[in-house]
């Protein structure tokens, strides 16, 4: 009986964690900032519906923006999309952590989204916004 409770409390904590991240219209996958996993892409959905814009935005109803988070520690394997420089910086960080910062987990490939909406004169506008969706993360 205790374990389910513990698990329930654990779930509540996770939900609470997700809830606190749930600013109107922005959801992430909740465990992105806790686990010590390696640099990778995490789910982050921006919902136009929850932002109350569906009177103006015809399509889409939201989009997956994603974000990058995770550790960039030496040695970095190929999946971490790192550069020689990043490997060098990670090595030097090990020897001088107060001087040289850690290598950052950042987007290395981004793509555009298109948004179809009404403007104030009821004209229909199609706008392409570049660099809005993370396609890949890496250590840099």
């Amino acid at each position: 009986a205790v374990r389910p409770l513990k698990r329930k409390r654990q779930l509540n904590k996770t939900n609470q964690m997700q809830h606190s991240n749930k600013h109107a219209g922005v959801f992430d996958d909740g465990h992105g900032s806790r686990g010590r996993d390696v640099c990778r892409r995490h789910e982050l959905y921006v919902s136009f519906r929850d932002l109350g814009w569906l009177d103006s935005v015809i399509a889409p109803q939201g989009y997956s923006a994603y974000y990058c988070a995770g550790e960039c520690n030496y040695p970095m394997n190929s999946s971490m999309n790192s550069t020689n420089h990043a490997n060098m910086q990670a090595l030097i960080h090990l020897t001088k952590p107060d001087v040289v910062p850690k290598v950052c987990c950042v987007p290395t490939e981004l793509s555009a989204i298109s948004v179809l909406y009404y403007d104030r004169s009821n004209n229909v506008i199609l706008r392409k916004e570049r660099n809005m969706v993370v396609q890949a993360c890496g250590c840099h």
């Binding site: 009177d55 935005v57 793509s111 004209n123 506008i125 809005m132």
Partner: protein, 241 residues
Amino acid sequence: SGHRLRPPYVFPQRRLGIHERRDMQREILAVLGLPELPRPRASPAASRQPASAPLFMLDLYHAMADDDNGGPPPPHLGRSDLVMSFVNMVERDRTLDYQEPHWKEFLFDLTQIPAGEAVTAAEFRIYKEPSTHPLNTTLHVSMFEVVQEHSNRESDLFFLDLQTLRSGDEGWLVLDITAASDRWLLSHNKDLGLRLYVETQDGHSMDPGLAGLLGQQAPRSRQPFMVGFFRASQSPVRAPR
């Protein structure tokens, strides 16, 4: 404080106040390049708005999405990052006076064009139904920009495009009006006037309506509209707030 090793990417966990949420939404809109406040809830008048432009733009939206996934971009779309359709329109006809050439004129409000956008292409789209008189003949449809109107004489016109078709043809007629964009970028607040003429093979002027060209009286999905394709001429500088 640097000594107590905080998890490297924990974000401050606190609820945003009402004003902060409103500011946050405004910032998200700015990042998306959208106008500041969403359009007010659709008024009843909006339901009588032409549906032709939204339907066309929805097709462009899907084509742009395909373009992102490597599909062939439709014409004009590949070089544009903004497409605007204009429906706010006033329509004027001169079709009753038998001596003058007949024409149909369309006025468009271009005030919503954002600054810093360069026109890559512009089209005027009007739907043509099959026309029976005269039967099975060639029609020449020409489009002009009304540059300057005069009370005592004909307006100054600037030729834009000419299309030749058969009286029995049906479908969307697309007229290239890109050449008019030089002027409209200089004077946003002046309505753009487009004038349409139809002539038969032997040069007689014809009422565009009789030729099957539908104006504002057409069903909502077939009303004429204008489309502008734009490219941002410089990367938008986001003012610090």
